[in-house]
């Protein structure tokens, strides 16, 4: 019988104990895996979302720039407005390649999901080179370019005459955007003038998206934008700074969360140690016999070590799979509580992280094995047989 087969005997003998111990490891590893992938997923999600916006700088009304950026990314009603004539100044600033005006407004629909209208003009196309759509860009009054998801939900097709949801106006679907997998999918794009008229904010904008000629000249351009005549009445938000700040906030929580997850892992290791210790105690006699028939101390140590590793590695694999299987539920729960939750998947499969978690579990197993294995190896053969016979 090989050592591996011998060491896996315990699974048959005490399935419940082994199972419970493994479950403990699995839960702790699952928590760790979710946490690690979530952190990466969050960072990439926020970055993708900002990149999808296609702008380097966001010009928004006064107020908290974070709220403003969040509204621009996800779509909602704005508390304040910019004057349309700021646009000329922004576009005329040195370093600005293109400045696209937008007027965004959201209406609460009967089914709870808000309907977001965004008034834009052709300048927006310069910022979204990735946009592909069937049909045409809205150029005539009442024309609407619908996001893929919005169109699918309402069964709209290009050329349809439709009653615009939550508005007492009708429109023509001039085009339907191909899926972008971002917030764009659920927006309804109209002509700037139409949106301003429908929501009675003529001559006002909610935000201006600015693309620079050279992304490396961010600082001087932002300074120039802040210094222009309208600069005192608007907030200039460089998106790179925004990303950095969100990232810094996320990182500051990382240590805290990581250490709590580490504690859970340590507790699981204690449980493993305990369970193996119990099985060693129960098998005192057996180990004595093993020693008596010629197994060295090293053999016994290796046997117990192997047993512990089996529990930890099995727990690690189950934990990673568990985390992946449950990621959907965890994600929707996280999304409900997180500020700035990007619309991309937050928890994704990542071989590196999975490997890291497995390696961590194995390492932990090695430590957990030390105590019971050395105790088993320390047993003197004859005494062990005698003591085993007593109980």
């Amino acid at each position: 019988m090989t050592w591996l087969a011998l060491s896996s005997n315990e699974w048959r003998r005490r399935p419940l104990r082994q199972g419970v111990t493994t479950a403990g490891v699995a839960i702790a590893v699952a928590a760790m895996f979710s946490l690690l992938t979530f952190h990466d997923g969050y960072r990439d999600g926020v970055r993708n979302e900002i990149e999808r916006l296609g702008a380097h700088v966001l010009v928004v009304p006064k107020g908290c720039p974070y709220d403003a950026a969040s509204i621009a990314l996800h779509g909602a009603n704005w508390p304040c407005y910019l004057k349309s004539n700021y646009l000329q100044e922004v576009a005329g600033t040195t370093g600005v390649a293109s400045a696209a005006p937008a007027f965004m407004a959201a209406l609460a629909a009967a089914d709870g999901a808000p309907v977001v209208f965004v008034g834009i003009d052709e300048r927006m196309l310069a910022l979204r080179p990735g946009w592909k759509f069937d049909g045409a860009f809205p150029r005539r009054p009442g024309e609407v370019l619908a996001g893929a998801e919005a169109a699918r939900l309402r069964h709209w097709r290009v050329g349809d005459q439709v009653a615009l949801p939550e508005l007492s106006a009708t429109g023509t679907i001039s085009g339907i955007l191909n899926a972008t997998h971002g917030a764009d999918d659920s927006f309804l794009y109209t002509r700037l003038q139409d949106a301003q008229q429908w929501f009675q904010h003529r001559g006002e904008l909610t935000h201006i998206l600015v693309r620079l000629k050279d992304a490396n000249l961010l600082e001087p351009t932002v300074a120039a934008l802040r210094g222009c005549d309208a600069g005192m009445d608007m907030n200039v938000v460089p998106l790179a700074h925004l990303f950095r700040t969100i990232q810094r906030l996320a990182n500051s929580t990382r240590l805290l969360l990581g250490s709590v997850a580490m504690i859970a892992l340590l507790l699981a290791a204690t449980g493993v140690s305990n369970a193996v210790l119990m099985s060693v105690t129960a098998r005192t006699r057996e180990i004595g016999v093993l020693r008596a028939v010629g197994a060295s101390r090293g053999h016994v140590f290796g046997l117990i070590w192997l047993e512990t590793m089996q529990i930890c590695v099995a727990g690690g694999i189950i934990g990673v799979l568990l985390a992946f299987a449950g990621s959907h539920g965890v994600e929707s729960w996280l999304r409900s509580g997180l500020p700035f939750a990007p619309s991309d998947a937050l928890i994704r499969w990542d071989w590196l992280t999975a490997g890291l978690c497995l390696g961590g579990a194995a390492l932990l197993g090695s430590f957990a094995a030390l105590l019971p294995a050395s105790r088993a190896a320390g047993l003197a053969p004859l005494e062990a047989m005698r003591e085993g016979a007593k109980t």
Binding site: L16, R17, V20, T21, A23, G24, I27, A28, A31, L35, K62, G63, C64, P65, Y66, C80, R226, M232, D233, M234, N235, V236, V237, H241, L242, T245, R248, L249, S252, T253, L255, L256, L257, V260, A261, I263, A264, L266, L267, A268, T270, G271, S273, N274, A275, L277, M278, T281, A282, L334, G337, L338, P339, T391
Partner: protein, 394 residues
């Protein structure tokens, strides 16, 4: 029965010790986290309420970004336009407008950042707690400095001492030390507004004509209900924006809430893991003591007595674990806080940990329930043993 339980636990000191340690750590984590969140919220609220202001007028741009820039030893490029203070004071709804110049002075050698705040007399109206613990409560000379309680303790200065700021090459005279207020102001160096403008203006490369700059104006309204109209009017001041404190607090609490949910979930994982450990330990104990339990049954112990024995064992284990955990939390809490304080954004000055007996009780109750829950199956197994087995196995 109690003695019996104790003796059983003492029989396997290592095993039960490990289990105990697991429970204790899980309990300590849970208590600390609950206390931490609660303490953060209380400190934040106290800070905002003590300030006695309803809104702040700050320069355009991101308030967080400005804070970050300061930390990196960069200049505060944003400042309020000179006429903002007059505009605020002329607003009909404003009762007090206190100009503030805040500057952070990083001290690489000592790995900390000193906060310097320049203020004038009107600041006393928005800081009702302002009282000198020793020395004078207000500046008499331009190079006077008044220290917050923590700042004084850190610098080991008393009123009358000289105080040299190597970064700014300036010598100050400690005029007074404030009583502890429990806010971030405890660690601040207060100096007269004009001195601050003179000291932080030119060194930070400000253009001429900006010497009378401010970083914020704290505003108290005549009537708190006027907040909406006042905010709308003040928002029109060019180059400045209004942040109401309710907004600010909401943002912080949102962030905190998100982090807290995550941490509590992880702590719950820790509790579950230690529950599994209890389960295993008890199950092992039952299997090991099969003979003993069977004999007990044979000499007349009822099923429910055996069941009770095991449940009490688990209860005792969790109880001792709880007590150890609570002690651990109280002993290590402040140390953990000092560690975590460096990583938590916008940490208020006061202690963040609000360890309360209510929290300890709540966590204790939870872990006890979990402990009993984990004991159910092993206890049931033990109670099911047939007394007749005693004859066979001996």
């Amino acid at each position: 029965m109690f003695v019996l339980v104790l003796r059983n636990l003492a029989r396997r000191p290592l095993r039960n010790g490990l289990t105990l340690a697991g429970i204790a750590v899980a309990m300590a984590v849970l208590v600390t986290i609950l206390a931490f969140g609660e303490g953060y919220r209380q400190a934040l609220r106290r800070e905002l309420e003590q300030a006695g202001v309803q809104m702040m007028l700050v320069p355009l741009g991101c308030p967080y970004d400005a804070a970050a820039r300061v930390l990196k030893n960069n200049t505060l490029e944003n400042s309020l336009p000179a006429n903002a203070l007059d505009a605020v004071r002329n607003d009909p709804a404003v009762a007090v407008a206190a100009p503030l110049l805040m500057a952070a002075c990083p001290r690489q050698n000592e790995r900390r950042t000193d906060m310097w705040v320049g203020l004038d007399r009107s600041a006393l109206l928005i800081k009702p707690w302002w009282r000198a613990g020793s020395g004078r409560a207000w500046f008499t000379k331009q190079d006077d400095v008044i220290l917050g309680a923590d700042a004084a303790a850190l610098e080991m200065r008393a009123p009358g001492d000289k105080f040299f700021s190597p970064e700014r090459h300036r010598e100050f005279h400690v005029a007074g030390i404030l009583e502890r207020s429990g806010t971030a102001d405890d660690s601040v160096f207060f100096i007269p507004l004009e001195t601050a403008q003179e000291m932080f203006g030119p060194l930070d490369g400000l253009r001429a004509g900006q010497a009378d700059r401010l970083t914020a104006i704290a505003i108290r309204l005549k009537e708190p209900t006027l907040i909406r109209e006042a905010a709308a009017r003040l928002q029109k001041i060019p180059g400045a924006q209004v942040v109401t404190l309710t907004e600010m607090m909401g943002t912080f609490l949102n962030l905190l809430g998100a982090v807290r949910t995550l941490v509590v979930a992880l702590a719950a994982v820790a509790v579950v893991v230690s529950a599994l450990s209890i389960f295993n330990t008890l199950l092992g104990a039952v299997l090991e003591r099969t003979n003993e339990l069977v004999v007990m049954r044979a000499v007349g112990a009822s099923r429910s007595q055996i069941f009770g024995l095991l449940v009490v064992e688990s209860l005792l284990l969790t109880l001792i674990g709880n007590i150890a955990g609570a002690i651990l939390a109280f002993a290590l809490g402040p140390r953990v806080e000092a560690l975590a304080g460096n990583w938590i954004p916008f940490a208020p000055g006061a202690s963040l940990l609000a360890l309360s007996w209510a929290d300890v009780l709540r966590c204790g109750l939870l872990t006890l329930v979990v402990g009993v829950g984990a004991a159910l199956y092993p206890a049931w197994r033990a109670a099911r043993l047939q007394p007749a087995l005693a004859m066979k196995s001996e």
